[in-house]
Symmetry: C2
Subunit: 319 residues, 2 copies
């Protein structure tokens, strides 16, 4: 029997799950819509009914060793999801819910932390013991690996790099404060930057024909690749702010690498080049040309399942 774990990533819209072996091979995966449930309890009932149906026929091939879950607003220490804005479940003890169905070790963490562990076990950070994983999506998430383990801090919520302050502007952040890094360095941030630049610059731009609510980071990448001056300037500014923030992060952590993951990171050199240039420009002398900036090595479709499963594999290995 092949030893596998169940990796579950709970997103605002869909929840993906899959069986993953020690080498990161996905034996089976599926998804269900997350939404439409009144409570976390109902959600897990539906999730495990769905999974059990599929797993029933596979039980003679696979030994289930554990369950790893990535979710928004998740606490590793308490095993709970607390007031996740896109889930509407209030407070859910995820580990307790799982124990109703399976008597195997189970671990919960937030999505960026799961991505970091996934990167270390199966991706671009194999063999690294000190690095920072940055997820550039709607916001900016970070999972920080120190000495081969996730940095959780005193209460389990360390690694909120999206909310360090940059002071360059005072954009209002989803957290209620102003000037957080993710108001610039994220898919939403670069949209805000484009709109700011459209008011500042007089250059023609295809982006002038797009309403704010329809504009995506992908549109901006495509425009930049076509030579659109406003779009290119938006990537330059995003890279400047993120690169400078990474020089501060280097002073704190002295990481071997920073790994960029998620939607905005898919813009490739458009974002990597200015990020690296500004990080180096701002780096303390002792850290210059030492910290790599790398794209994620996780296949984008399976990254969430791999992250969640890496989390529990890592936990099982360290028991």
């Amino acid at each position: 029997m092949l030893e596998v774990v169940l990796g579950i990533d709970i997103g605002g819209t869909n929840t993906v799950f899959g069986l993953v072996d020690r080498e990161g091979k996905i034996a089976f995966s599926d998804s269900i819509p997350t939404v439409g449930e009144k409570s976390g309890e109902d959600f897990f009932k539906r999730l495990f009914n769905e999974f059990n149906e599929k797993f029933e026929n596979l039980k003679d091939q696979f030994a289930l060793m554990g369950i790893g879950i990535g979710a928004p607003n998740a606490s590793y220490y308490t095993g709970t999801i607390e007031e996740a804005p896109n889930l509407g479940w209030g407070f859910v003890n995820v580990i307790d819910e799982i124990k109703k169905y399976y008597d195997v070790p189970a671990v919960l963490t937030n999505d960026a932390n799961a991505a970091a562990i996934g990167e270390m076990e199966f991706g671009a950070a194999k063999g690294m013991k000190n690095f920072i994983e940055i997820t550039l999506g709607t916001g900016l998430g970070s999972g920080i690996i120190v000495n081969g383990d996730l940095l959780y801090g005193h209460d389990g919520f360390a690694g909120e790099m999206g909310h360090v302050r940059i002071d360059k502007n005072n954009r209002i952040c989803g957290c209620g404060r102003k000037g957080c890094l993710e108001t610039v360095a994220s898919a939403t941030g670069i949209k805000r930057t484009v709109y700011e630049l459209l008011t500042k610059m007089n250059d023609d731009s295809v982006l002038r024909d797009m309403p704010y609510n329809k504009l995506t980071a992908k549109n901006i990448s495509e425009a930049a690749l076509e030579g659109d001056i406003v779009a290119k300037e938006a990537f330059e500014y995003t890279g400047k702010i993120l690169g400078k923030a990474l020089s501060d992060a280097t002073a704190y952590f002295s990481p071997e690498a920073v790994i960029l993951f998620g939607g905005l990171a898919n813009a490739g050199e458009l974002i990597f080049e200015p990020v690296k240039r500004h990080m180096e420009k701002n780096q303390l002398e002792m850290f210059k040309n030492k910290v790599k900036v790398l794209p994620s090595g996780l296949p984008s479709g399976d990254a969430a399942i791999l992250g969640a499963s890496a989390l529990i594999w890592h936990e099982l290995a360290n028991k």
Copy 2:
């Protein structure tokens, strides 16, 4: 025989050393001038000759278990001091030098890291596993404890919080860049702030009679306690910048506490009150009223020896 370690703190002017037991009791201590030596090799020869003379008569009472050293520009990973500006030794392999005299485990780290370990073993952070020690002297040093261990990062030089950027002003820093935290939050920083305020404000101040080169953080504290408006404003500004930086550090590390140590921290509530107030004001909602700001619990005269000895005790315990 009582088990003891030798703690050595190498400063720009003096080097202090002492025998310390597992409970942090100093059995014996002494100091020599650091300066006047052409090389690190000569220095260690003189240091150990001095120590041996004293230790000769104590050998039947004490068993020497190890040696811990705190020094500027010191690397834990390589055991070397590299180009420390105030020592003028260039590159010295400290561990190799020690091995010439003693066949016991020896560990080297920088002064702020030693202070952090000292705080955890013998001071205000007893029982804590996640906290930040900040030394406010000529510059700002930091030792960051993650999961009960010092954060060294990939190359041993993590924890350079003095050089995260604050962007509020562009004061030139000793590191060659501009706007580093220590250009404001340090004994030197508050002097710079006083001089800036003297040009901005019209209020009378005893500090108007002091030349820059004679002004000390202690003068500024004394003036503030007498109600001097400029001096009070200088503490307010220092607390604002440091407090805000601590809210960023909280987002990264989620520490149980921040411990302030060194010259400027001796100003007590003059500095603690504005630091706490601005840290809380800037804190992410999830971290509000959770992170303690505490004074060091190490006796100021013995802190350096206790830190260096705690370093090796900690290492011996984790072997």
